[in-house]
Symmetry: C2
Subunit: 291 residues, 2 copies
């Protein structure tokens, strides 16, 4: 029986390796949608017990079971761990297995998994665009994937059927699948996600430095500062992986940002309100396009 | 009868000149708290009719009435208009009048009003730290000032009684008064408010530029981008005034920000995860101090 018809009958066996905020939320959404015969989880304790208790997976499983007996493996660990798992576990994949991931960069992951999966197994990179400034399955929820873009970046050897299965899993979670190349993903997300993180982190760190010099800076914040730095509470560990696996695109995004910031600073230096207005007009337009 | 006892008996006559989001919200809060005998509004139409209908002021008044017959004048226009009003209307102030404002920078405003008010009138600069990305009295609300810091920057000739009256008005609106010098205000807010606006605006403008080059960037945003650029929807007109009246402090704040951003970019270039973590640790600490 094909995976497509397995899907239609709620018959997929899914393994989630690394049941954190993202993959845990997908597990909850898939269980609610009834698309899987069974979802097994592989993680350290006490995460795994929590994942079962919270309904992200049906039961604990093993890596061997995931790669030999499931239809779909979802890699939910941080980016560098996903890359390392290619070498150690990729070769174990049975023919017909579809491996996907939820990592925030795609080129390095897809390249490594394509290199280590045997003939007949498919890799379809995935990046559902939701997240929170807190992590872990305790903060996962079935509704988080609802309505968000879910980028799919199939490897060169992925079968059309494999892409169709992950597409339908994205839809079953309530998300909107968008297929593109890993390079397209990484260039776009460098601007829409990695750059905002760098900027918010630098802004919050600068405010701490100012507070140490001037005192009272962090007592005088309003909603603007809080919103602009909200993601600056994110843990370094996740973001180090993301930046280190997408350095060229992130630096290109930083160059675009510095061009705009320089325009504002030069306008300030020369007392040129029209030049400030031009950058604001462009920023206002970007915001209008979001809605 | 002193203004302090007028205050206790709900007997102040207040004029609001420029009934926008900020001063309009204060008017609503003061009317609800019952601190004023009457609040008159001075603005263009149809703003003034809206302000009366929405309960920001009791009735329409005139500039002559504000400066000759009221106890407190609240200047609610944009920063440059407040500065221009010093020359045209400051000399009209009767003895005993307390003039305050709600502008986002303080040094230029306090200096100009101190220079143009006659003997016996006091200027107490004010900056209640609330706002929204939308403006106008239609978006004002009595609850917006609740719990926010309300910076007071008395002019050198302001009487202690004048400072006490504005302090109690800040409290009556539900805000938390904080007295400091205009220079202290402008240096702190350059970091906690003006810098975030510059950064958010540059980020949104950079994303638009990227979207034009790569396409699809603005379709692939998640909560991080939306939060970080929320204030990038703010109108240029307000912010041009703020930047142009606080250029030195804003440039000092930009220098602090660039130091942190450079540290992140250098770490990316040299592949140094520990250096990235150091900036994240400082940013995480800044966020913890907000709560």
């Amino acid at each position: 029986m094909s995976k497509e018809s397995d899907f239609a009958q709620g018959g997929l066996r899914i393994a989630i390796i690394g049941v954190g905020l993202i993959a845990g939320s997908l597990g909850m959404a898939w269980r609610r949608a009834g698309v899987a015969r069974e979802i097994i989880g592989i993680d350290a304790e006490p995460v795994l017990t929590d994942a079962v208790r919270l309904g992200a997976v049906d039961r604990a499983g093993t890596m061997a079971e995931a790669f030999s007996a499931c239809d779909v493996v979802v890699l939910g660990a941080p980016v560098r761990a996903i890359i390392e798992q290619a070498r150690s576990h990729g070769p174990l994949a049975r023919a017909g297995l579809v491996v996907t991931d939820v990592g925030s960069t795609k080129e390095a992951i897809v390249r490594m998994w394509e290199a280590h999966l045997p003939e007949g197994a498919s890799f379809v990179g995935g990046h559902p665009l939701f997240g929170r400034e807190v992590s872990g399955v305790a903060n996962a929820a079935a509704d988080l994937p609802h309505g968000v873009p879910y980028v799919l970046t199939p490897g060169g050897r992925a079968t059309p059927e494999a892409v169709a299965v992950i597409t339908r899993l994205a839809e079953a979670a309530g998300a909107v699948p968008r297929v593109m190349t890993p390079a397209e993903h990484d260039a776009r997300l460098a601007v829409s996600s990695h750059l905002p993180q760098m900027v918010a982190t630098a802004l919050a760190a600068a405010a701490l430095a100012a507070d140490e010099q001037l005192t009272g800076v962090l007592d005088l914040t309003a909603g603007g500062f809080r919103d602009t730095t909200r993601i600056a509470g994110s843990p370094a560990s996740l973001w180090v992986d993301i930046f280190m696996t997408n350095p060229a695109a992130v630096r290109a995004a930083l160059a675009l940002f510095r061009t705009q910031l320089d325009a504002l600073e030069n306008a300030l230096e020369w007392g040129d309100p029209e030049a400030i207005e031009q950058v604001f007009d462009r920023a206002n337009e970007a915001r209008r396009r979001l809605t």
